[in-house]
């Protein structure tokens, strides 16, 4: 590993893919185990949680829907930070992080939409309802798909890194605008009969399982993200190793 990198301190050591791989190898089993434990506790607490007097047992869907929605936004924020890492600091792992995070974030976003829909049917009577939150998450989902399509369309990681980073950043700047416009649109077109999802008025017996599930799924995200980053680093190494092998196959006779 290059000495110039490790001179600048432990923070930069993360920039070294080899270091990252060994770091990941050490921490992943623990992270995975912790994820399983927290999720198990959360699920148990969710099962134990009382029924909401308005929504009945379907409030249990909230325990997975809200963490999914929260994670979909957190993942995009991580991708935005990674985008800044690529463009501003030229961090070598930033693009790997972004590429690995996108499909995971897309899955969580899709799950947020699906669980939201399944929650909406008993609550609002229709499978899909164009309320401000679901619509914003839907637009976010479309943005995820666009980013994934773009990264897969370009072969050369070096070029796709910057393009994806710029798109992610523009998307991130757009998110408040989109949220604002969807809120506007929603208040115009729907009478105010939107269910309050509680927020700070939510009761402790419902809030605690929700928080535990949120933490559990966040840990799950980081576990999966690290695993996916590891895969991506290895994938790139394989590509460059194959190139080296192809070059050497020309030069020397194989023995």
């Amino acid at each position: 590993m290059s000495e110039t990198v490790s001179k600048t301190g432990r923070w930069i050591d993360w920039a070294n893919p080899t270091r990252f791989l060994s770091f990941a190898g050490i921490i992943l089993p623990w992270l995975g185990a912790l994820t399983l434990i927290v999720l198990a506790i959360g699920l148990w607490m969710s099962m134990q949680a009382p029924d909401d007097y308005q929504q009945g047992a379907t409030v249990k869907i909230m325990f997975i829907h809200v963490p999914f929605a929260w994670l979909s936004m957190m993942c995009y924020s991580i991708m935005t930070i990674a985008a800044l890492g690529t463009l501003v600091w030229r961090h070598p792992l930033a693009d790997v992080s972004a590429r690995a995070a996108a499909p995971i974030g897309a899955v969580f976003t899709a799950l947020a939409l699906i669980t939201g829909s399944l929650w909406g049917k008993p609550m609002w009577g229709t499978w899909w309802v164009w309320d401000a939150r679901l619509t914003s998450v839907f637009v976010l989902f479309l943005m995820y798909l666009g980013i994934i399509a773009l990264t897969r369309a370009m072969d050369d990681p070096a070029k796709s890194a910057k393009a994806t980073a710029i798109l992610t950043l523009v998307g991130f700047i757009n998110i408040p605008i989109i949220k604002f416009s969807v809120d506007w649109w929603n208040t115009l077109h729907q009478p105010a009969s939107v269910l309050r999802m509680g927020g700070s008025t939510i009761d402790g017996s419902l809030l605690r399982p929700l928080l535990v599930m949120a933490i559990g799924f966040t840990l799950l995200f980081f576990t999966l993200h690290m695993m996916a980053m590891r895969n991506e680093i290895r994938r790139r190494r394989i590509v460059s190793m194959r190139r080296v092998a192809a070059r050497n196959a020309d030069r020397r006779p194989s023995q």
Binding site: K60, L111, I114, L118, W119
Partner: protein
């Protein structure tokens, strides 16, 4: 509210399946990459920086 149990089960079920698929995809990808790496290394292919002694 018992008729809503179907929705709850469906919500949890879909989430479980989707997450399981995601985890499996990552695990399978991991196995593929490891196998390809092992195959390349057994053929004697080295990374350029490996000459300096860094091995993952």
């Amino acid at each position: 509210m018992s008729n809503h149990a179907g929705f709850i089960i469906a919500a949890y079920g879909v989430s479980l399946i989707a997450l399981a698929v995601l985890i499996c995809w990552i695990l399978i990808d991991q196995r593929l990459q490891n196998r390809a790496l092992q195959e390349l290394e057994s053929r004697g292919v080295r990374r350029r920086s490996d000459s300096k002694g860094a091995q993952s």
